[in-house]
Symmetry: C2
Subunit: 461 residues, 2 copies
Amino acid sequence: MRRFIASAFALLVLLPLLLAQQAADLVITNGTVVTMNNQRDVIEGGVVVIRGAKLVAVGPASLAAQFTAKKTIDARAGIVMPGMINTHTHAAMTIFRSLGDDVADRLKRFMFPLEAKFVDRQVVYWGTLHGALEMVEGGVTTFVDMYYFEDEVARAAKQIGMRGVLGETILNFPAPDSKEPYGGFALAQKFVADFRGDPLITPAFAPHAPYTLDAAHLKLIADETAKFDVPVLMHVAEMTDEVDTLRKERNQTPIEFLDSVGLLNRRLVAAHCIFVNDSDIALMKARDIGVAHNIVANIKSAKGVAPALKMHEQGMRVGLGTDGPMSGNTLDIIGQLGYVAKLHKLVNHDRTLAPSIEVVEMATRGGARALHMEDKLGSLEAGKLADVIIIDADATNLIPNYDVYATLVYGASAKDVRTTIINGKVIMEDRKVLTLDAAEVKAHMRAMAKSIAERVGPVPK
Amino acid sequence: MRRFIASAFALLVLLPLLLAQQAADLVITNGTVVTMNNQRDVIEGGVVVIRGAKLVAVGPASLAAQFTAKKTIDARAGIVMPGMINTHTHAAMTIFRSLGDDVADRLKRFMFPLEAKFVDRQVVYWGTLHGALEMVEGGVTTFVDMYYFEDEVARAAKQIGMRGVLGETILNFPAPDSKEPYGGFALAQKFVADFRGDPLITPAFAPHAPYTLDAAHLKLIADETAKFDVPVLMHVAEMTDEVDTLRKERNQTPIEFLDSVGLLNRRLVAAHCIFVNDSDIALMKARDIGVAHNIVANIKSAKGVAPALKMHEQGMRVGLGTDGPMSGNTLDIIGQLGYVAKLHKLVNHDRTLAPSIEVVEMATRGGARALHMEDKLGSLEAGKLADVIIIDADATNLIPNYDVYATLVYGASAKDVRTTIINGKVIMEDRKVLTLDAAEVKAHMRAMAKSIAERVGPVPK
């Protein structure tokens, strides 16, 4: 009888709680939750709740009791944060990684000929899968890609489950996927038509650069992308040649040139922007463009340090990018953080600049803003898409952790990411990628690279 | 009968081979052996043979049949190479990692007071163990350390089994291990007496910097270290203040000043050397000093890029260092490689400079040369000490591998090191450190850091 009373009492107490509990698909508990919300809240012992593709709640430990979840992940005191956004890459170029890294004038003398010779559908598909694998392993949840056969990039991204803003490349000479100059324009139209509305893929146009398309075609692209409101991905103000030629031929900066052809607008994600002056920056800000800052690739090629910190400080939309793995070699954003923090200190002769919290912001919120997707991505807040990563608290290099932003920027490596969740789906858990056979992807990459190594010939001096 | 004949025949064939086989302790097979010998041989499917503390053979796959080994490690096509040498650090400062990273004028305003308040024997011992754990995990086999209670540093190094060139710090104000200014001098004498001849530890004097000791004491140290032929570790030409004051007071550069007090000689390992001119470099070369190049720490503090590439190109003894984990945050040398390659390209506006093979050389042979230990360390050659690491060939970021030096410099991370062997002993195998309880070390570090966090007060602006 006493047992019955106790049980009835327990039921009376627990029933309202049970009835009040909401259903969830995934609950992450016991995290150091770096929300990157407007208040930059960091919640110790925090909880993140996911239903479907979205975050439904982010808060303290007590939150967990309000939800019944199909799956729970214990973050074991690890850092739980928004997935990183890689705002500029060419993921398929993994196939050429470590080839001719220290060659002078490399783009024209080595890379374009290499691509003409070897890039086909298979290379793009498997190369992107390999690159996406590396990104997921390194905590990147969204990537912005410009390449050829971009439908194969989309196929690979969907297969692993990554979010992508993907642009079919257009330029004024024959490309691996089109024999005619500017053949990419029609391919881009088809690509956009095929992938518009996809939950993971945002299709885009990718005019290669101001120096590889004429003004007429750039205007055509401006009109077409305005009509369908699709993003435009482009290399901008990256080369001294580009700047010099536009100055001579049009007496314009690359930024002024793009404005004159109608491309400088909120659809544009401009990669690099190394050679821009204060007047350019003011114009870029006024037109509300996004900027992809690729520090590692830019200094490896000795081009320079883009004034990206100044742009960020002025409230512009600045995200971080790796560039392709032939330029920056690795595809994770964590590997960029330390470079961003240190290079802007160095060139400005001030160690207090680019503090770690601002660098983490660029990697997350900044990337989302560069894509004009900050309503959906870039922070852990109820209502946003569930792109979440968990970073190991037990890595020797991350102990002690007095300041979580400093720990991320100056101490962390891509290999410290344990778990990657994209669009509510667990893509990697405890470093095992669940959505594809990683060994198969690597074996394919090795076989393709072996074949290329046999045919590539000597690297130019 | 036929069976007997077959057996006898087999014995006749195999016996001479068996008799000819030499005993070994450890054989590593199936590696991409990056020897860093004079010819820079890279041996595919190569073998490394270890007996006692030394390498007895390095060569092709066929070599394995000549040895019977107590233990064999299959490198599984991974990169087998000389252990990396960290030529400048303060390993115990792991205890302060991620504290006040972006503070202005940090050394005097924040670090010295912090050390005065918190550094004791326990902190140095456990902090060094934690740092050594991180170094072993990242493929560092020798570290050069300057700190207080340096006997505790030596104790920790011997416990994990790392090779160390360790210097007791001497300076002109009270230090954590001595109430009197210059108290470190007597401590250094005792430290050297206690550890001379140790198989792993080379004890040294560590006068802190030209700006923290007077000329008389520097001369005393020069005489004492000459008498016993022990290394001298020192911060040199790191600060603009240091340069300005010496110019004003003595009309000398830091290098000229050190020469005038007798310290500029082959026993000196000079850390940083950022502010040196061509005449200084010529003098440094003539005096045959070693240089520790700490690129990450130097640019994080916005000090500048030392002309270390120029020194290296002139045949000087230049190794790489991480500096302490409050300055550079991580303690592995692999994390320095990409920075070295890229920063020297950037500041010299030439992407062909600092090619990856030269950067790997600095990390290995260069470090050995900076310590005047190139007869024993820095390459995989019979007769040298067996400090060897194996890097995973299966890491996504290391595939493909067209050029092993580029793969190491632009692609690898500390976490790609699988196995670390020091002085012939396997210290880490397949990422498990065998010589200490890593979980215990991390737990101690967390507890000490928690206590410090509660007492440290606000970080200065």
